[in-house]
Amino acid sequence: MKLALLSDVHGNLHAFEACMAHAKAQGAEKFAVLGDLVGYGAFPAEVVDRCQHLYFSGHVVLRGNHEEMLKDVHAQNSHSGSNTDTTSKAHTQKNTLGAQTAAWTYAQLSPAQRYWLETLPLTAHDASVCMVHASADAPDQWRYVEDERIARISLDAACSNPDVRYVFGGHVHHQSLYYRGTGRQLMAFKPTAGVAIPTPSHRRWLATIGSVGQPRDGDTRAMYALFDSATEKLTFHRIAYDHLAAAHSIRKAGLPEFFASRLETGR
């Protein structure tokens, strides 16, 4: 079965639809959206709407830290409504880049959508596959799996379930494959887009599948991955989409300029 793995869509509808279309053309039968559906981008409601469709037809949608941020906005709104001081937590959140768009995003979503996002799970399992937004050892800590050491902690935690062979996550916005060579530590491998990498299930693998909606490696193309459990091959994809239109929408929505120019340069 072919499983399409998409993460960190960040309200970028253009990129999301391009990746979904590509995955369908490749024969993907199952879809998994690994969190951070919203934030930064101009189409949170539309992306959430599409993900809801996926979720209610049996596909996987997980919660990421940007969904979590909406809770803080909610807390802040209700606090200011009751005329009490904002909590210090919400106050600091306000100053981070992501939080700058969180309030705007919050306003775009219907209460039902917000409630749905809050109730999303942090992890999902499908046969030998474990899916999580950040690291599997503490999914709610939003730890960045950015090197061999943290990848090992995440992989070891997920593999305490003996059925698990593959851990797929997002959050770091780049594509990496971690595996064990002949040594004890994990090795990091930088995949080439479009190459089907054999990932036999007698080994254990951890992949960060990159970001659909906000690439940061100097390449403007959207990222996702396709895992074929029948042939045990994992393909990392880079998909060209209308990133200028996505950037234009961010400006038009009045969101910070940085998030628009970021899509234009891929950094």
Binding site: G181, G183, I197, H202
Partner: protein, 475 residues
């Protein structure tokens, strides 16, 4: 695994005769059990994975499976099927006809004869072409040795056993954080000794060891049993082949010693360059290295030994990218009806092409028609005529900056200019053809495709068609 009985059925393959019982694996002839005809003869390789076997054997098998199924071309056996590693591990692949280099060497040893130098060059060139085809697919073999290269009856080489190979697009299952030497001690390249995997020039080193053995019947670095013994090649030059066998021509020694240089950057930059020299032995640029009959002095070795103590190699870029940066550029130089502007423009185009590619080599080619030379008339006898054109080519090349570039000159005889150029480009792994765009006023253009158009359409590589202009034409 125990040796399999003839007639055993494994996943639809019927086991035939055991062709080879090696230390690592058994190899059997197989056919389809349902008697369906196979498109080519097949063999099954089954690893000897018993409790006493090391993990490397199993991983090597996995690596071979990973890589063999994506490699293409006639220089590797075609992949058919693989068994589950956890239940019955096996690989089914094409049974390629021919003799391994080991069998060839054994024959020479038994008959107490030596290979002729032209045969050595021919064998070496076929290995280099096979290695180049692998490198173009972003794969380094990293375990080339006489037992792993097969000479097909038609002369091309087929590489076997990819258990230690490295494909740049796949995770390297043999890598680990503490780098260690992976390879066969006799043929292993110095950078492999310190744990660098994935440099195509490591395969060039191994070909150098095999050429050395073919030429001298000795091994350049012996067969070291220890890590320290293998480290010797980080600083040591082997005895020059001519010291062991004085009749070895200097071009062959030059080629062999260049392959065996301790520093990868000072070997041939790509296997195509090596094949080119082996095929045009008269054009090899011979340095002092090719002439010498004495070994490197103690002091030179001592100094290098000190340096090698802290030596580390830098990881290399993708093999295909690395060899793309050192292309073979071929310029087709016309020989009749040549105008100054044609020659000038070709030279400018060649200078530009070479200028941005420091390791590129240049082949200057002129095609003459066979009836131009006649054996009776002294003035136009073949050698005189060839010499005349070679002089013309050398004159043309004057003023090109060839310090950084190897350059060679070739006069071909053929009635069909385009065909001759295409065949030459194909046979020598040429990456880029530079030629004039002019059709020399051919009147029948509608009927006959002009030479530049035919070459551009059918060439296996990039073609630059140069328009003629002179620098003073505008004045």
């Amino acid at each position: 695994m125990k040796r399999l009985e003839t007639g055993t059925n494994i996943d639809g393959f019927l086991i035939g005769a055991c062709l080879h019982a090696g230390g690592m694996a058994h190899i059997y002839e197989v056919t389809y059990a349902d008697a369906r005809p196979a498109p080519f003869p097949m063999v099954m390789k089954v690893p000897r994975m018993t409790a006493g076997d090391g993990a490397e054997n199993i991983i090597g098998f996995e690596v071979e499976h990973q890589i063999l199924q994506v490699l293409q071309g006639r220089h590797v056996p075609r992949f058919v099927a693989a068994g589950d590693l956890l239940t019955i591990p096996y690989l089914v692949m094409e049974h390629v006809q021919g003799h391994t280099l080991q069998q060839v060497i054994d024959q020479y040893t038994e008959s107490r004869t030596n290979a002729s130098f032209t045969d050595i060059a021919k064998i070496g060139a076929s290995f280099a072409r096979a290695a180049h085809s692998l490198h173009q697919q972003n794969t380094c073999h990293l375990d080339l040795k006489p037992a792993n290269v097969l000479l097909h009856p038609d002369g091309h080489a087929v590489l076997l056993d990819f258990g230690l190979s490295c494909h740049a697009h796949f995770p390297d299952l043999l890598a680990e954080e503490l780098r260690k030497a992976i390879g066969s001690p006799t043929w292993i390249a110095p950078e492999q000794v310190v744990g660098v995997r994935g440099d195509p020039r490591s395969d060039i080193f191994a070909i150098g060891v095999m050429l050395y053995e073919l030429a001298t019947a000795e091994l350049p670095f012996g067969n070291p049993a220890t890590q320290g013994g293998m480290r010797q090649r980080l600083w040591m030059d082997p005895p020059p082949p001519r010291k062991l066998r004085p009749d070895i021509p200097s071009w062959l020694q030059e080629i062999i010693l260049r392959c065996l240089h301790p520093q990868a950057a000072l070997r041939y930059p790509s296997a195509a360059h090596l094949a080119f020299d082996l095929e045009h032995s008269d054009q090899v640029r011979i340095t002092a290295r090719g002439q010498q009959t004495k070994g490197t002095s103690f002091w030179v070795h001592f100094k290098r030994w000190l340096k090698a103590a802290g030596m580390h190699y830098h990881p290399s870029p993708l093999p295909a990218q690395q060899i793309d940066e050192v292309p073979i550029v071929m310029v087709a130089l016309p020989h009749y009806d040549v105008r100054d502007d044609t020659l000038y423009s070709l030279k400018q185009a060649v200078a530009r092409s070479l200028g941005i590619r420091p390791g590129a080599r240049l082949a200057v080619v002129t095609v003459i028609s066979p009836h131009q030379s006649s054996t009776s008339d002294d003035d136009s006898s073949e050698t005189t005529l060839h010499r005349q054109y070679l002089t013309m080519q050398r004159q043309w090349a004057q003023g090109l900056d060839l310090q950084q570039h190897q350059c060679s000159f070739h006069v071909l005889e053929s009635g069909d200019v385009a065909e001759a150029l295409l065949r030459y480009a194909q046979g020598n792994q040429v990456n880029m053809i530079v030629m004039g765009a002019a059709t020399h006023g051919v009147q029948m253009q509608r009927v006959i495709t002009p030479v530049p158009i035919k070459v551009a359409m059918e060439a296996p590589c990039t073609v630059i068609l140069v328009k003629q202009t002179l620098p003073f034409a505008q004045l």
